[in-house]
Amino acid sequence: MTKLSLRFDPRMKRTLNTWNLAGQMPLLSLILLCAATAVLTNRFLSPFNLTNILVQSSIMAVIAMGMTFVIVGGGFDLSVGSTAALSGCVAGMVMLEAGIAAGVAAGILAGAAVGLANGVVIAFLNVNPFITTLGTMVLVRGVVFLITGGAPVSGESGLPSEFVAFGSGRFLGIHYLVWIPAVLLAVLSFVMHATPYGRRIYATGGGREAAYLSGVAVRRVIASTYVWCGGLAGVAGVMLAARLQSGQPTAGEFYELTAIAAVVLGGASLQGGEGTLYKSVIGVFIMIVLGNALNLLNVDSYWQRVAVGAVIIAAAAAERLRSHRASSQ
């Protein structure tokens, strides 16, 4: 072992070593899916459709990144869909009164507040994350209906036009909605991999007791992952409001399951301690491209469900190949 090789990030090294197959199953699945669709319909690779896919993936990608924090930290969050709806509606309502900046800030803060509540209950009261976030999922949805009266939030004459324009606008040819997850991915990957805080999340998820005995403030770390998740669900909710040109109280149903599926497809373990942001985003692409492909191919909506279910299982089974050698049983 030379002195030099020590300077490499061991993670990167491992990735390189095993690039060929293991660890890259999610990417391979995605490429396979794209290739198959491209063969079946030439419209798939049209610039217009690729833009569609990016935009359609953008919101779920932001949610899945938040979910990655929680899952790596050993947790679980079912409340992201309701939280996104709350944030979108709060953003819309505040925006109509106090301007775009205030609205956006309020929406994101509302999301982070839900995350904080989840985090405190789970980490400090030790309540099971599944049941806690199931509770908040239902509760927050109720709050959304209460504050909106169940009606979409768009005021008399719609949300502010700059905000609506943001939902479909572009910068350097790429939608703003796509820039957001791109920038977040870069920044958050840095947080998870290059900061002590990030390493503590992995350690806590990988072995809470051992992390605790190594001086990690495990409760605070766990609570913080839910704040990230809630805050990012808030960002997603605001993006959704921009895209739907309104705050939608019913938005975000089933987002939690899609997001968790994406993160798991990206190779994270629900046991905690494993998972990578960019792979979670690949997991999102798998889910979105699949839906897009089935729509392009005009597959009957009943068969679509069958196909989606089958592909989820198949992709997860493929991902298992990777870890197969690692686990003895």
Binding site: R7, K13, P196, A203, G207, S214, G215, G273, E274
Partner: protein, 489 residues
């Protein structure tokens, strides 16, 4: 030698790039105790896992009574009369002691096609086998409520209960006290007389020399030596294992520096640890030494109030303790390590704050520290990116020490740090403790091996029911028997 009850012929096993076993021949006869020794990672566990149906060999065959067998699961091996006490404790914490003991072969009452658990018999059987080990817990209590060493006894009882022809014990005594060890040996002797073939793995070489009829020494996955009783001593074994002469453990320095750690003088648990001093804790199973240790580390139920280097401190969490310059090596490895993370990540975990440069992690500095400390502690292989779970037990233990050495803590709390560790590694760990003490640190150490305490410590505190009952000083002479009397063993 009689016909072997079970034997392995030319078995090899690789895990990825690691060759765990390379063409090993091994046999054990009925009524024989065949000991297996070797350094950490020599392949002992792998060998008996192949015999026990957990692993399948890459090459070579396993024969039972001369007949070639291909076990697919432990169930097959158990059905063939081969019962193993695994090295890593494998019990179901949520189930009762009796259920754990009976698991896999629950006593039933039959009503036609219906088989119901016969609880009365289950408890009786549990009580019986536990009694053979002089251990009398309520068999209905959950295993989760037991201490680590007590669980070891349950694991032994569980194996004893199975009527077996081949009995494999993988380091059964690692966490046990002399008293339980003696009991175990008498049970083994009886089984031997009844014709059971016994395979016995241990790092306590004097034990091996005492009870082994034959002894196989493994080195780097090969058989380095095979000797019969009388033809080997503990020193011979050590030499064969390492391929050279082993150093005996260090003796501690002269004590007496400034006080490093002083518990509040609340009567019975009061004691003081000085710089340059190694203090031992001795106690029987359930005497509460582990709780004392956790408490001092801020991980007990209540915050600890102690004086560290002359300063009053309230240790409400391990974080406080670490900030005060204390490090702990817990008694269970899974509490000291995050198994699915790399050696590097594990070593850096308690050091992240010192590597923080304006919020981000100084990777280069981290790599330097890891490389340095891996060299110092001699972790093999020197591969910082390897998952800790793939290391042998001895190396895992060294990684835990490395975490604290990298931080240069002043006080080390060590809960049975050499449990399950080979002689060479043990000597290395003793030397490392010596280094810490030499540069002005102090160490508080619990060990299930009283001899180790006697050799290592400047002072030994005898603990009963969570209280310090006596203090033995090196200057007055410490030996095993004195210690045993002090702890009530």
């Amino acid at each position: 030698m009689a016909r072997p009850a079970v034997n392995a012929e030319g078995v090899s096993k690789r895990f990825g790039a690691t060759v765990a076993l390379d063409g090993v021949d091994f046999a054990v006869a009925c009524g024989e105790i065949h000991a297996v020794v070797g350094e950490n990672g020599a392949g002992k566990t792998t060998l008996i896992r192949i015999l026990g149906g957990v692993h399948r060999p890459d090459r070579g065959v396993v024969r039972v009574d001369g007949v070639e067998r291909h076990f697919v699961s432990p169930r097959d091996a158990i059905a063939a009369g081969i019962v193993t006490i695994p090295q890593e404790l494998r019990l179901v914490p949520a189930l009762s002691i009796a259920e754990n003991i009976a698991l896999g072969d629950l006593p039933v009452r039959r009503f036609g096609p219906l088989a119901l658990i016969d609880r009365t018999r289950m408890y009786e059987q549990a009580r019986e086998v536990l009694a053979e080990l002089d251990f009398a817990p309520d068999p209905r209590a959950a295993v989760a409520s037991l201490g680590f060493a007590e669980r070891q006894l349950v694991a032994i009882a569980k194996a004893l209960r199975r009527r077996c022809r081949v009995f494999i014990l993988d380091e059964p005594t690692a966490a046990l006290e002399q008293r339980e060890i003696t009991r175990l040996f008498s049970v083994l002797a009886r089984m031997q007389r009844q014709g059971t073939a016994i395979i016995y793995i241990s790092h306590r070489l004097d034990e091996v020399a005492a009870i082994g009829d034959r002894c196989t020494v493994l080195r780097d996955g090969r058989v380095a030596a095979l000797a019969t009783r009388g033809a080997f001593t503990a020193d011979d074994l050590a030499a064969a294992m390492t391929g050279g002469a082993a150093k005996q453990a260090v003796t501690a320095s002269l004590a007496g520096g400034d006080p490093l750690l002083d518990t509040r003088p609340d009567g019975t648990t009061h004691f003081r640890l000085r710089a340059h001093e190694v203090v031992g804790l001795a106690g029987l199973l359930g005497s509460g030494t582990d709780r004392m240790m956790r408490g001092l580390f801020g991980a007990g139920n209540e915050a600890a109030r102690v004086e560290v280097a002359g300063e009053q401190r309230r240790l409400a969490s391990p974080r406080d303790a670490i900030a005060a310059g204390i490090g702990m090596v817990p008694g269970e490895r899974s509490l000291g390590l995050i198994m699915n993370q790399s050696v590097r990540d594990n070593i850096l975990l308690p050091n992240l704050d010192t590597l923080s440069r304006m919020g981000y992690l100084d990777r280069d500095a981290g790599d330097r520290i890891v490389a340095e400390v891996m060299e110092l502690v001699d972790i093999r292989p020197r591969q910082p990116s390897l998952k800790v779970g793939a290391l042998s037990g001895g190396n895992q233990q060294k990684v835990i020490l490395a975490k604290w050495l990298a931080r240069r803590v002043a006080v080390l709390l060590l809960d049975d740090p050499t449990q399950g560790i080979d002689v060479a590694a043990k000597a290395q760990i003793h030397a490392l403790i010596g280094d810490v003490v030499a540069r002005g640190g102090g160490a508080l150490i619990y060990s299930s091996d009283l001899g180790e305490l006697a050799r290592l410590c400047d002072r030994v505190l005898a603990v009963r029911q969570g209280r310090v009952m006596a203090s033995l000083d090196r200057r007055a002479g410490i030996d095993e028997s004195k210690l045993r009397n002090a702890i009530g063993g």
